[in-house]
């Protein structure tokens, strides 16, 4: 059985990869990938703490379930935005979306 510290370290690495992706990538869909990775790092932490705390309880797992459902909704809206932006600009480079700020 791995310790809680191992799980938090894996979670930090996933978070850092996600932040790298959000900083570097200019492709809208890639940035959505990065957001998904960050959300999953957070979920991993929730479930790890739920199981490996000195007194385990189910709250972390319930929160992880809520978080997964919210992330699914976020992806649906994000992909709809991508399709709308693609229809308008014929591109998914986020530099083109700067014009949205008016």
């Amino acid at each position: 059985m791995a310790e809680i510290l191992d799980y938090t370290i894996v979670s930090i690495i996933l978070l850092a990869i996600g932040i790298y992706g959000l900083t570097v990538k200019r492709n809208f869909i890639r940035m959505l990938f990065a957001v998904e990775i960050i959300v999953n790092a957070a979920n991993l932490n929730l479930v790890a703490f739920s199981r490996l705390m000195p007194s385990p309880n189910a709250t972390g797992q319930s929160f992880a379930l809520f978080s997964i459902a919210i992330a699914a909704a976020e992806v649906a809206v994000g992909l709809a935005l991508i399709i709308v932006a693609y229809r308008i600009y014929r591109n998914i480079d986020i530099k083109g979306l700067k014009r949205l700020s008016g």
Binding site: M1, A2, E3, I4, L5, D6, Y7, T8, I9, I12, I13, L14, L15, A16, I17, I19, Y20, G21, T23, V24, R26, N27, I29, R30, F33, A34, E36, I37, N40, N43, L44, A48, S50, R51, L52, M53, P54, P56, N57, A58, Q61, S62, A64, L65, F66, I68, A69, I70, A71, A72, A73, A76, V77, L79, A80, I82, I83, V84, R87, I92
Partner: protein
Amino acid sequence: MSDPYFIAVSAITIASAIIALEFRELIYGAIALAITLLGVAMFFVLLDATFVAMFQITVYVGAVVVLIIFTIMLVRREAWLKLDEGGRRRVMGAVIALAVIGLLGALLAGSSIARWQASEDVPTLIQIGEEMLTYYSPAFIALALTLAASVIGALVLAKVERDKGEEDEESSSEVGVEERREAGMEEVERKKEGEGEEGR
């Protein structure tokens, strides 16, 4: 750190997360993302949270990644492969990522959670169900409304633009052949998009 399963799963998860962001072809990136999400589901199994693992596989790998792959197929263009990310951008991103790892790692190493003793109790499915339907029932209802609102919002986002496009096409019926041909191509693309939405 002695658990070989844990080391294998974390290697798979982290490697495929990097591949998801760095592989040139977007479709393979999406498949690597699916493997990352499966890796997280495997972590959940290692943590005795089998229900959350099944939920993760159903929602993420079953729905989200399939949705992403449909969208990629809908809007794919060769030009994206040439998107210039720039060396400086890349270096800054790597510096920020390493700073996050360093700072949070130092914070954790200095904290007391390294000395925690894991107990043998496992949170059961019954406990999760009781919590979600009693103490967290307002959040549960709010979650249902949020999901409904986001689905309706996504549909509205996709629909309004289509109506506008049809008006444009009607107004452009008097213009030259080339432009009409373009409008026809757009209609074909729109049909494809409509199919993608039905798939959703």
